[in-house]
């Protein structure tokens, strides 16, 4: 390898680092998550535990687990026996163990609380509540509501109960008692069958196509019109239209809200013409869509405007002068000279904005939050709500990851199609300068 190549590799390292850690790793992790049932109920990092609870018992019975065995698992038994006494002696001293033996030997208790009450009467008892509970736990002879961190510990305790479980029953019990996440393809089945995902997909289509059309169209309009203005005025206008992009989103959306609320600017203004006040952002689906498209569209248009303007500037002025000599009017100039030159920037902006719109939801989240009635809840926002943010507090990381994967796949597919469509190799011709 030549040294120059090594140098090149050195320069590439930061980029590689970014691609691997900020793109590939998240995608791989998302893909892994998407094949699990992770949620706030299962936890992510804790790794799960094994616990038989009242709910487990109900589930087991539903699945046809032998009734009598399930009932035995549901027992909460504390028994004063030799093993327990020995354990107490080891942990809390002989005197306490002997007192328990004298007072309670052979007795059984249903639940720790009853035993605790008995132990509290004894003189030699430990004087801390927690130690008393620990002592009581040494007599526990059932597994209800005990959390086992490992499968091995759980199975050992189940064995001690002597339930005579077969292999399949043990497996069923272990599976049902497991509280952590498991691998599954259920999320993708859910996505295919839920009505709400279908609606989110439809909403995304509406959102992307309308916003894209608006931002490209309006960006183009701004670029062309400001091109024909004197440069000072043009710069002023461009700066104004660039504001939506540089304003912090929260403030930008807040201004929209002030404008659109039923006590806002628009309603107050229209009141002069006899229009009853209403919330122009959330009154109907159509209102919400108009606002969502405009909020995002203006942000997109400002980027388009900058790109198109610079592309127009690159057109040799002589061509325009020549066309004027030939008697072309402004519209003809735009149609035959400017537009053909803008092919590449337009395609680029379209591609870039399709991809970014697919995954963006920040402005929608801040403005309508998907309302009214989920009419503007796009796929990305739906994903966010499912995985990370909802009132019920059940955060479904697995399902959310699967939803995000769908976007990743669509994004990659769209990117490939665009590359093909633009014929990237033609656009970027081979340099004529020799190496």
């Amino acid at each position: 390898m030549r040294r120059a190549h090594l140098l090149g590799l050195g320069f590439m390292t930061p980029a590689l680092f970014i691609i691997v850690f900020l793109f590939l790793a998240p995608v791989v992790l998302t893909m892994m998550f998407s094949f699990t049932n992770m949620s706030s109920g299962t936890g992510i990092s804790s790794g799960g535990a094994y616990e038989v609870t009242e709910r487990t018992i109900r589930l087991l019975k539903d699945q046809g687990f032998p009734e009598t065995t399930a009932d035995r698992l549901a027992e909460d038994t504390y028994k004063i026996d030799a093993a327990g006494l020995a354990a107490v002696q080891a942990d809390f001293g002989k005197a306490f163990a002997q007192e328990i033996e004298a007072e309670l030997s052979g007795k059984s208790f249903a639940g720790r609380r009853d035993l605790e009450r008995e132990l509290k009467r004894l003189k030699e008892r430990p004087r801390s509540t927690r130690d008393l509970k620990k002592a009581a736990d040494l007599f526990k002879r059932s597994i209800l509501n005990t959390r086992f961190e490992t499968e091995q510990a759980f199975l050992t305790s189940v064995d001690e109960l002597d339930l005579g479980l077969g292999e399949t029953e043990t497996a069923e019990l272990t599976r049902t008692a497991y509280t952590g996440w498991v691998w599954t393809t259920e999320n993708y089945r859910l996505i295919a069958s839920l009505p709400s995902t279908l609606r989110a997909a439809g909403n995304t289509l509406i959102y992307v196509s309308f916003t894209l059309a608006f931002s490209i169209g309006f960006g183009l309009f701004l670029a062309v019109t400001t091109f024909y203005l004197p440069s000072g005025v043009a710069t002023t206008f461009r700066t104004i239209w660039f504001l939506p992009r540089i304003l912090p989103p929260v403030i930008y959306v807040m201004m929209w809200k002030w404008m659109a609320w039923d006590t806002g600017f628009l309603s107050s203004f229209l009141a002069h013409f006899g229009v009853p006040p209403r919330n122009w952002m959330l009154h109907s689906d159509i209102n919400a869509w108009v606002v969502v498209v405009l909020i995002n569209g203006f942000v997109g248009a400002s980027l388009g405007m900058i790109l198109f303007s610079s592309a127009i500037k690159a057109i040799p002025e002589t061509m325009l002068h020549a066309s004027e000599v030939d008697g072309a009017n402004r519209l003809q100039q735009i149609r035959y000279i400017i537009m053909p030159q803008l092919r590449w920037p337009i395609l680029f902006t379209t591609a870039y904005q399709t991809l970014s719109l697919l995954t963006s939801f920040d402005y929608i989240y801040l403005s309508t939050d998907g309302g009214p009635g989920k009419a503007t809840e796009v796929w990305a926002l739906y994903t966010f709500h499912t995985a990370l943010n909802n009132y019920g507090g059940v955060l479904q990381y697995g399902l959310g990851a699967a939803l995000a994967m769908v976007l990743v796949v669509i994004g990659i597919a769209a990117a490939l199609i665009y590359l093909r469509l633009f014929n990237f190799n033609d656009l970027v011709a081979k340099p004529r300068i020799e190496q």
Partner: protein, 456 residues
């Protein structure tokens, strides 16, 4: 000489040993600890949810000092979450990152999922449940913080969610004072139903006493309140036998239809959901709305920040009326609870447990109850003057609490309530008809809840 050296060595060794022991003993005695407590859904008037822990820390340190141990607890308090969504997100993600707050004040509904994931630990493992003040807490409240037969948290407050009437508006549409005073009894008996609510709200709008959309002015976001309306039409949230969640299609349709009717009658705004809370409070506390519903704690907001001087002279309150003959008047109590999160150091959990126990002291809890207009958690609170002399606490307890039920502790209830509310929103805003919305709810619930759902 050698004896001297050896003596010297011995005494040095003894001194070193003594010093080390003293140093270690000192270490063991002085314990510095930071207890973090986060509270969800808490406004300015709810500060005692957090301050109570601080007061408890003071008492606990004194108890330790008497026993000869030095315990310095600093309490870090946080309640500035944008909403319940953000609070739950914050707690869950902090726990995943291994930095969960020691104590969370949250809805009892979080117990089911969080106990499964091991985010929280049972309080009954750390404190003696037979001692003061836990033995004075109402059993039905402790039942609500119990899941799978294990007491996970201590109730932090109690409340219930009444229906409100603006007296002046009611008079203008033809009610006499006596009739308004008789409303609670009529609602309870099922003689005044949600159909009457629509009629009265419509009268108020038609007679231009209130503006369009202000006849009936419901809660602006998802919440337990909406489950009440489902119950008003005969819906049941959980099947008592099996512990499964219940989708009663007829009740759900009727419940959605009621809100659609309200919109069509122009007594409720189509885009009502998402109204700002501040705007909403200001409007209902000033008589801009004729009928509405809320929570017992609204009393503090109306008479405090919103400046309503004479609550009882302006507002009547009742249970949520029955919807039709299938259901009955009801109200939901949705107590918040002090929950303990799992920590690496068990001693920290124990101290946190002792703190929430002391914070449940009737006198301390009364500060919260009266300041925030919540209801008490313990019997003895009625013997504390601050509580006993408060008219709102007394009347609301008597009129509402005997009829209050709570939402089920089921790990899937969060999903259930999300889907139910989404369905309501799509019907309310006219995106779908009630029947179609319920069909979607059914499809959605069946897919998401699976065996945990009974469809009727």
């Amino acid at each position: 000489m050698s004896i001297l050296v050896s003596k010297l060595r011995q005494s040095t060794a003894a001194a070193v040993l003594a010093l080390t022991t003293a140093a270690f003993a000192g270490d063991a005695l002085a314990k510095d600890l930071t207890i973090t407590v986060w509270a969800g859904g808490s406004n300015d008037s709810d500060v005692y949810r957090l301050d109570a822990i601080e007061m408890a820390a003071d008492i606990l340190s004194r108890e330790y000092a008497i026993r000869g141990e030095e315990l310095n607890i600093s309490v870090e308090k946080k309640r500035d979450f944008a909403g319940w969504d953000e609070f739950r997100q914050a707690v869950t993600l902090a726990a995943e990152a291994g930095s969960a707050p020691n104590i969370v004040v949250t809805s009892h509904l979080d117990i089911a999922p969080w106990s499964q994931s091991g985010l929280i630990v049972p309080v009954e493992d750390y404190v003696d449940m037979d001692t003061w003040p836990i033995n004075n807490i109402y059993e039905n409240l402790l039942d609500i913080t119990t899941y799978n037969g294990v007491v996970y948290g201590l109730p932090q407050d109690a409340e219930s969610r009444p229906f409100f009437f603006w007296r002046d508006t009611m008079k203008k549409i033809g009610y006499t004072d006596e009739e308004i005073d008789a409303l609670p009894a009529k609602v309870e008996a099922g003689e005044y139903t949600l159909q009457n609510v629509l009629e009265d709200a419509k009268k108020a709008v038609d007679m231009e006493i209130v503006e369009e959309g202000y006849g009936f002015y419901p809660r602006v976001s998802n919440g337990p309140d909406y489950a009440q309306f489902y119950q008003s039409f005969g819906g049941e949230l959980m099947d008592k036998e099996t512990g499964k969640l219940v989708l009663d299609k007829q009740a759900m349709t009727d419940f959605y239809q009621f809100f659609v009717d309200a919109v069509e009658a122009k007594v409720t705004r189509k885009n009502h959901i998402g109204t700002e809370w501040d705007q909403w409070y200001a409007e209902v506390a000033s008589g801009k709305a004729a009928l509405w519903h809320g929570g017992t704690w609204h009393y503090a907001r109306y008479t405090g920040k919103e400046g309503l001087d004479d609550f009882f002279g302006n507002i009547q309150f009742t249970l949520i009326p029955a919807g039709n003959e299938n259901g009955q008047a009801n109200t939901i109590t949705h107590p918040l609870a002090y929950l303990l999160t799992k920590q690496d150091n068990e001693d920290d959990i124990e101290i946190a447990a002792q703190l929430i126990k002391i914070a449940s002291e009737p006198r301390i809890n009364t500060l919260h109850a009266i300041k925030s207009a919540h209801l008490g958690i313990a019997r003895e609170q009625s013997n504390i003057e601050l509580y006993a002399n408060d008219r709102w606490a007394a009347e609301a307890t008597r009129r509402l609490l005997p009829y209050a039920n709570s939402q089920p502790n089921n790990p899937n209830y969060g999903k259930f309530s999300e889907i139910m509310f989404k369905g309501l929103e799509t019907a309310w805003t006219g995106t779908k008809s009630p029947a179609d919305a319920v069909a979607e709810v059914e499809a959605e619930m069946t897919a998401v809840l699976g065996d945990d759902l009974i469809v009727r």
